[in-house]
Symmetry: C2
Subunit: 221 residues, 2 copies
DNA sequence: TAATTTTTTTAGCTTAGCTTAAATATTTTA
DNA sequence: TAAAATATTTAAGCTAAGCTAAAAAAATTA
């Protein structure tokens, strides 16, 4: 059981998340942007992680996680999302505050703690942002969702997932009183800029931009 | 609000704990022993913490915490003991396993988290080892206890506190089935080596060495 | 009190994880 | 396809936090 530093764990986590979005191959500059480090620092660390056989690194080409690297990345994500669940559900934190604290808690090293937390929380499958929580074996429940930006007129949906964990976006959702599991009916979609008019829980009318809609995922009902 | 590294926080915490036991003045070698670092490393760090006005450092003489240093030390101890309480009470960890995990959790930076945990746990005054948990203001409940080694023959006591958080000592207590809040009646004390014979909860007879008794604190009933 | 032992500090080195600036490889554009 | 732009790596250097070995101060012992 190798133990990595918080820095190394963060690299693996972001490589996993960037790789998921793309083909699996992650570029130096994309990581540098995510981590807010210089590209030179990223190159150094990628070589180090490659030496440790946590990823395969091809100069000028990009990296992808090895089996071991993937396993660790998922474990970090599992811890992050379990802690977010605890902070929101048990401690009543608002969802815009949980991410930054979970960024610290995700690096606590104790498998027994992780598994006991999982049990304590009732083995949740999704975190407070609707993101899937990997189980002990690394299995992930893929929710059957579509992007709200692609939702159809007149149809009804449930808000399942937000794709942006930043405090600024989540505070905006708080302000317009939109929450996970709210019922959404698309009333109108402006042809010019794709601004959407929606009815929330059959009573509240709101209007959101296409930029906002792109960050939300819904399930049709 | 200055933020310290985990290393700096550990120094302040141990200086506080060593200073409590002694006059308040802490020596380089005592810290080196506690932290398992070389004395040279300790000297370096003490100078650095003195520069930050967290302690007063006099060459060859020793250190003592400033008001700011004391405040931070108590906050770290507060977090450590709140987390230990959570791990034992809520997650059902045995008391020999909680300390090492709390050593990591005590460095999570979020006053809001600390205070919400305190509330979630019902504002506990003592941790699972019987150590006092500083409140938000840094106030500490001093328990009215005596060392079990000094306990009187035939008298009855309640086990309130253990003074050694090491897994090896706590596992020993598990083995002899001795727990916090157990009732202890002193049956005999051997003159030769001060070995004690005791009746636990009016039914179980055990014999413990003076070394063990020195690590336990009791309240008379 | 002088010698010896112990404690503490100083000096010089190492590693992890970052930086900027310069060099080089790749990709895009004209 | 050659020039320009962009992406990536290399080189050199910094800070935090550790180390060992040597020097210096303080404490103990003879
Ligand atoms: Mn998050
Ligand atoms: Mn999340
Ligand atoms: Mn402890
Ligand atoms: Mn404790």
């Amino acid at each position: 059981m190798i133990t990595l530093t918080a820095t190394e764990e963060n690299y693996l986590k972001y490589i996993y998340q960037l790789g998921e979005a793309q083909s699996g191959l992650v570029k130096t500059n994309d990581l540098a942007y995510k981590l807010e480090h210089s590209a030179a620092s990223v190159t150094d660390m990628l070589k180090k992680l490659a030496d440790k056989k946590l990823l395969t690194y091809t100069k000028y080409y990009g990296v992808s996680l090895t089996k071991t690297g993937l396993h660790i990345a998922k474990k970090v994500l599992r811890k992050h999302r379990l802690w977010e669940t605890f902070l929101a559900k048990n401690l009543k934190f608002t969802w815009d505050k949980i991410h930054d604290i979970a960024e610290q808690l995700e690096h606590i090293q104790s498998d027994e703690l992780t598994d006991k937390m999982d049990e304590y929380l009732g083995f949740p499958k999704f975190d407070p942002h609707g993101d899937p929580i990997p189980d002990k074996q690394g299995n992930i429940s893929i929710p059957n969702v579509i992007c709200l930006a692609d939702a159809k007129l007149k149809k009804q949906y449930i808000l399942q997932n937000v794709n942006d964990d930043s405090a600024i976006f989540l505070k905006y959702l708080n302000k317009i009183k939109l929450q996970l599991n709210d019922k959404i009916k698309i009333i109108d979609k402006e042809e010019f800029d794709e601004t959407m008019e929606m009815l929330i829980n059959d009573k509240m009318r709101i209007t959101i931009s296409n930029d906002a809609a792109k960050n939300m995922y819904v399930k049709s009902i």
